[in-house]
């Protein structure tokens, strides 16, 4: 079948009796261009208009590098934590029904729906030393709010539902019979989980991780309240962009944004290639 389609001109549809392709496709592309593509192109055009010296000067300062490093490191760690916790929660939700599960399942989506600023002030109040949880943590000598740990908490809050919602359907689709087959063949529960269940849900875990990471790196509202925003210590890259904009240093803001976008794109691309390699080696038989 695909051989027949391979000769298509890009965006020219396969003949269909259903009307409206020209109109809907045209409107979509126009609107997409006006709202998304042209503005994003402006960002890169602006960055390109900076000379190399200007660009490096804007991004190579210790403060900028520290902010970028903080954003990436906390996002990666938070995405890892989200992956572990989210995978675990998804497993429990699917495999261990308990009274009120539907309600808990709905609660998982709160970080999707709750505005980030609201999440930000709520997490800060909760994890500040005067807050319900921050007080407990302070007693064991841990300061959460206004430190990088606070950033991590906010990013896990944001990333968790991405992992749960990616992994949950895969666990639901797991075939009970494969696990029973493993048991009949003498595998222990742990061997079954490690060798049968985990490899099956691993791709979904990776996808959940990348989604949580991509969201976390650019996250602003839920982080800035809890972060403390101390330059060089707890100042994230998106905040630095805002600060530069408030100083009307558009060139610097643009340069940081472009570096941030490109770095996260490169990271996601690397994961994607890794995933494809894994899938490809599977099909070709090692």
């Amino acid at each position: 079948m695909s051989a027949v389609y391979s000769g298509w001109i890009p965006f020219k549809p396969k003949p269909s009796v259903i009307p409206g392709f020209g109109l809907t496709f045209g409107l979509t592309v126009t609107w997409l261009s006006l709202i998304v593509l042209i503005p994003l192109a402006a960002l890169f055009a602006r960055a390109a208009s900076l000379g190399p010296d200007e660009f490096i000067a804007a991004t190579a300062s210790p403060r900028v590098l520290a902010a970028l490093r903080l954003s990436f490191v906390t996002s990666i760690i938070a995405a890892l934590v989200s992956t572990v916790l989210g995978g675990f929660i998804a497993w429990v939700l699917v495999r261990h029904p308990f009274p009120g599960r539907r309600f808990v399942d709905a609660i998982i989506d709160v970080p999707f729906a709750l505005p980030t600023a609201v999440a930000g002030i709520a997490l800060t109040t909760l994890y500040a030393e005067t807050g319900w949880l921050g007080g407990l943590l302070a007693q064991i000598g841990i300061k959460a709010a206004f430190t990088p740990l606070g950033i991590l908490i906010a990013l896990v809050f944001i990333g968790l539902p991405f992992v749960v919602r990616t992994v949950q359907p895969v666990i639901e689709d797991l075939d009970h019979e494969t696990e029973e087959a493993a048991a009949c063949l003498g595998a222990s529960r742990w061997q079954t989980l490690r060798r049968i269940v985990f490899p099956t849900i691993a791709p979904a875990l990776v996808t959940g991780f990348t989604l949580a990471f991509a969201r976390g790196v650019g996250e602003y509202g839920s982080v800035i309240f809890i972060a403390g925003n101390l330059p060089m210590v707890s100042e994230i890259a998106p905040l630095l962009i805002v600060i530069k904009l408030e100083e009307f240093a558009y060139a610097q803001a643009t340069a940081i944004a472009v570096v941030m976008l490109c770095a996260s794109f490169a990271f996601l691309l690397a994961i994607n290639i890794l995933q494809r390699r894994m899938a490809a080696s599977r099909v070709s038989g090692r």
Binding site: L32, P39, L43, V118, I121
Partner: protein
């Protein structure tokens, strides 16, 4: 042949490869603990903080003229951004789901793009276009049109960040539903609009409603992008989330949480609507789904 003895539905067998009761409840407790600490408690604390000084303080904060101005502005922005994204979400989903063409996955990726761009960058791009030092900024300001630090900028940034929501909900559903019903309608002589109105729309209405609700929740709650383009002019360019930020930074916590509780309520309503819609979808089987 007699079939009186055939029992059609056998209850689901419990599985012996499941975990023991003690471990089971430990796992459930740990999962609930994580969800409680990370998600439920922050949500609960919004309302707890809002009512810390009683109902009078709460309603006083909501009745403040600046708060009311912020609510009005938020409603205006959402009232412009949501319908536009509704229309283009449906139009885009139609083009993508009902036709086969090369470059389709590329187009889907472009539609998804705003999801993967930092909200701050989403605001930044409009500043670069329409700001004082932007491409069109000086020209527009000369002609008395203000976009950045004014309502049009808020609207543009909101449309940008909520762009994918409706299309995202519709595309998978419409692809799954296929084109047979539309083709049948064509064969029966229906026009394009009639097909959409009478065949497609009834099939997608719940997903469309949920997409619109999500789009609206995000439009009203968006913070990073509007923060960049707003200029924070009280009573003029402050939406509810921006107003929350200002109150919070002024250490006016009760007022900040009171206003924030409105947005939290909106989020809860959106999730409740989702639960109802999920339930509806599970009650009426999707087309093409096998009955077992």
């Amino acid at each position: 042949m007699s079939s009186a003895n055939i029992v059609l539905s056998v209850p689901q067998r419990p599985r012996i490869v499941s975990t023991g009761a003690a471990l089971r409840w430990t796992l459930i407790a740990v999962a609930l603990g994580v969800i409680g600490l990370l998600i439920a408690m922050p949500l609960a604390s919004v309302f707890a903080e809002a009512f810390r000084q009683g109902a009078d303080a709460y309603f006083g904060a909501l009745g403040d003229p600046m708060a009311i101005a912020a609510m009005k502005l938020t409603l205006i922005v959402a009232a412009i951004a949501v319908p536009l994204n509704l229309v283009f979400g449906v139009v885009g989903a139609w083009a993508i789901a009902k036709f086969e063409f090369r470059g389709k996955s590329f187009l889907i990726a472009l539609i998804d793009l705003p999801f993967s761009v930092s909200p701050v960058v989403s605001g930044l791009v409009f500043v670069l276009l329409f700001g004082m030092q932007g491409w069109f900024g000086p020209f527009l300001i000369e002609h008395g049109v203000q976009i950045i630090f004014a309502v049009p900028g808020l609207v543009l940034a909101t449309i940008f960040v909520t762009f994918p929501f409706v299309a995202r909900e519709l595309i998978p559903l419409m692809q799954q539903q296929g084109t047979q019903e539309e083709e049948a309608a064509v064969a029966l002589g229906a026009s394009g609009w009639q097909i959409f109105r009478r065949v497609t729309l009834p099939n997608i209405k719940w997903a469309l409603l949920y997409g619109v609700l999500l789009c609206n929740a995000r439009a009203m709650g968006e913070f990073g992008a509007v923060s960049v383009v707003s200029g924070h002019i009280r009573g003029a360019t402050n939406t509810i989330p921006l107003h929350v930020e200002i109150l919070y930074n002024e250490y006016n916590f009760v007022a900040a949480f009171a206003v924030a509780s409105l947005l939290a309520l909106l989020a809860l309503l959106t999730l409740a609507a989702k639960a109802v819609l999920d339930w509806r979808l599970s009650v009426s089987p999707k087309p093409g789904e096998r009955k077992t």
